[in-house]
Subunit: 315 residues, 2 copies
């Protein structure tokens, strides 16, 4: 297991500068009043392909040797990682294959194809996904880029926190959503080195609280097919993300489905931006635990903005 | 009729700096590809109280003498102007009364009250509104701030284009939605003086095309109770806005209801921001008339972001 270093983050930063946005930080005086904290929202919903995962995917793709690059990249993902890997591969002009369950939303398949990637469908089961994915790699010799359990991906995600601490002085803490733990691990990587006084909190749906339970137990506990409106956060921690989470995270808070949807609407209404449900989990936990955050300067990572406008969780 | 000058705009800029945002400009490579133009979106949806009207309202409120300020301000509006006037009055700590039809959405009434203003209801007819408003002014001696036919309001709205030409070099044109014509008039005021080579286009719903028909006829034609999804654009031009529109606007284009909704969704999906339907009319007309805009650098004014998330026009 290769643990990425702060040097890897700095290399990633230079590598992805041409194909990823330096995203803005927004504030809302009303949300500050509501929480009693100073909130600084890092807007990865404005990131290329609509999610922070463009950072990690771009770092992996642009770090490949020329020979490997010719063979392309592959992954399995029905979420933002597939879209973002397709985006990054398209920017380098190399092949990308994404294995997705045939039951995945058409919009997600179209997004991968829209950036030039190829979608290969599997049945919606782990065994089918693994078999189909093995076939894809055997056929193409493509480089596997895991959605989060990959040192190149984590070094890429780590660039987000590096921007944030430059944009906002004197942060007391950063709150990020946790699913597989890629964004949280990247945040740990950067802050533990560049700003070790800044606390790191993770925010998770109650209905997919495997990271919370793992954190309390001291070892990885995987959920069994959790369901939550925050569909980016259903996946479990893996050994590399557990390395960072177990060492550097101060605490993990959870929020109910209704609290997540309420926080999402609040951000849409007050910040006038489109975020996906996963991005709302940090604010939901901040509203739920004012005693932890009040009076502090808090960075809040809004991880993405890819939602189906026809199927909003309150409609 | 007092015509505001570029000096009035500069005075407004200083006057409102403490209570209005300098709003950002966003771009989208996909929308540039779709239109063949370089589009620069001026995000007044991020403005205080969610709309550009905070500029004009703040200029009017903060320009009042101390004696007049004590008596407060009043207006009739069931839209953003009422909310923004309440916001500005709240910032100065003076009374604000907004006359609204009792049939106006509760959310609009709540928004006025949320900033500290008072709502007085009238029947949904012009005669009732005028009678109730006259009573309010007789009772309070409040200063009437018209939503757009007011030199102080236009000088305030004009600060938006002043920011835009500083933010984007070498603009060929600016496109803004037109209802009563306050934003367009402010844009004319600023550009005719500071950047006279930049063309000004207005964008209007087909179903409320009184400005278009007035422009072609050469005199003001008022619509009779038009209905459109772009509910901020139903009001007619008045003599002061006609002064600017008739002199400085290059052309007015219209868009259908469906074209407006499609453009609105496109902006939500691609820019990841929340805008109200009126704000989508410029992009709808740019997509409809590529021959006018292709190859050019175009400023697009997104006028506001106040929508009812429970009642989106595509749901």
């Amino acid at each position: 297991m290769k643990i990425p270093t702060i040097g890897d983050m700095l290399t990633a930063r230079g590598r992805i500068a041409a194909c990823c946005h330096h995203t803005p930080v927004l504030t809302s005086s009303l949300l500050n009043v509501m929480t009693g904290a100073q909130l600084y929202f890092k807007c990865e919903n404005f990131q290329k392909a609509g999610a922070f995962k463009a950072r990690g995917a771009s770092n992996a793709v642009f770090g490949l040797s020329k020979d490997q690059a010719k063979k392309g990249v592959a992954t399995h993902s029905s979420g933002n990682h597939g879209t973002c890997l397709s985006y990054a591969a398209g920017r380098r002009g190399i092949p990308c294959t994404v294995v997705m369950p045939r039951t995945a939303p058409q919009a997600k398949k179209d997004a991968v194809k829209g950036y030039g990637g190829r979608v290969v469908e599997c049945e919606p089961s782990t065994s089918s996904r693994e078999a189909v994915f093995a076939d894809v790699v055997a056929e193409t010799a493509a480089e596997f880029v895991h959605p989060y359990n990959d040192h190149r991906v984590i070094a890429g995600q780590a660039t987000c926190a590096a921007e944030l601490v430059e944009q906002v002085e004197g942060l007391d803490a950063v709150v990020a959503p946790i699913g597989g733990g890629g964004m949280v691990s990247g945040t740990c990587l950067t802050l533990s080195s560049l700003a070790p006084k800044v606390k790191i909190f993770a925010a998770e749906p109650e209905k997919a609280d495997d990271a919370y339970r793992s954190f309390k137990a001291g070892h990885i506990i995987a959920d069994d097919a959790p369901e939550t409106v925050a569909d980016g956060l259903k996946v479990p921690l893996k050994e590399l993300t557990w390395h960072f989470v177990s060492r550097y995270v101060s605490d993990i808070h959870t929020a109910s489905e209704q609290e997540i949807v309420d926080a999402m609407k609040l951000i849409w209404k007050r910040l006038k931006i489109v975020i996906e449900p996963s991005s709302a989990v940090p604010l939901a936990t901040i509203l739920k635990h004012p005693e932890v955050f009040a009076g502090k300067r808090i960075g809040v990572i809004l991880t993405g903005g890819n939602v189906d406008l026809e199927k909003l969780p309150w409609s």
